[in-house]
Symmetry: C2
Amino acid sequence: MSFCLKCGHATEKAIPAGDSHYREVCPNCGFIHYENPKIICGALALWKDKVLLCRRAIEPRYGLWTLPAGFMELQETMEQGAARETWEEAEGKVAIDQLYCSYNIPRIGQVYMLFKGQLEEGAFGAGEESLECALFDEADIPWDSLAFPSIYRTLKHYYHDRKTYDFAKDQVPFHLETISGDDTVIE
Amino acid sequence: MSFCLKCGHATEKAIPAGDSHYREVCPNCGFIHYENPKIICGALALWKDKVLLCRRAIEPRYGLWTLPAGFMELQETMEQGAARETWEEAEGKVAIDQLYCSYNIPRIGQVYMLFKGQLEEGAFGAGEESLECALFDEADIPWDSLAFPSIYRTLKHYYHDRKTYDFAKDQVPFHLETISGDDTVIE
Ligand SMILES: [Zn+2]
Ligand SMILES: [Zn+2]
């Protein structure tokens, strides 16, 4: 059971005229409630080839490692969202270079937009949603303790691309992929 | 005045614990209503160097020309959204090549994701939301009658990039920009 945001009346599932999808529609005031995918913005924040990771202090995936990332807010750009999350979760300032990895996750209605950037002065702390944050070399990445497949894939891409392309000449590819199936499985 | 989706009680504006933004919060059941940016997916659908445009049969911008594009739905990928919109608005089947232009429009809480693709067999019609659709050569693009700045910019990028890069070798750049100010102004 669901209620109308505009008038509080109980809504009904219906396909509005000219539409192709079921929506929650209000039979009292006619308001149509659209539900759309959400954008998650985040940063691969680098400092001298080290990657900034955060250990989650919240569910889901409490205790596992992630890139700083979270839901994009109204009135910000994706780049601002990625920088804000880096500040909130890791108390680091990131200068965004470029969009690096994007993931469709249709099963849960999410799109990840992960930006490559430089962690200013290599400085960071740990925000309220993090147990701890740290800069990792490739050899130390906790591959078995990463929170999400999007994070695993982004780190794999980064270490592959760094050996394959000339990052100094900005020859960094952009990756767009779809993550399907059970998101608890790191593929 | 706004009401709770979950229980129908009137909501109140408040900053939830651990949050940094005001949300509509329900004092009865505690449900927090997040509002986030929406993704608009669309296609630059090409057929022999011609671009498929649609003349809008709906507001806003009734009568003006646009690329097929619309709100991304749950349970689809961005590429599927772009192809679905091309079918719905122009009755064309597009084979997506790559993400080509992305625009933050923070003033209205939208992110455009426009994909370059090939219009299969050059076939199209006109969907319910289009007065007409047509394939345009560069010389015939209705620059003064385009519906949105995102469309204007994408077409400008395309004609510039086509002369600058080797599209046959997939050397197509990706553009990420922010559109600010009044979106009725084509910048
Ligand atoms: Zn209502
Ligand atoms: Zn409630």
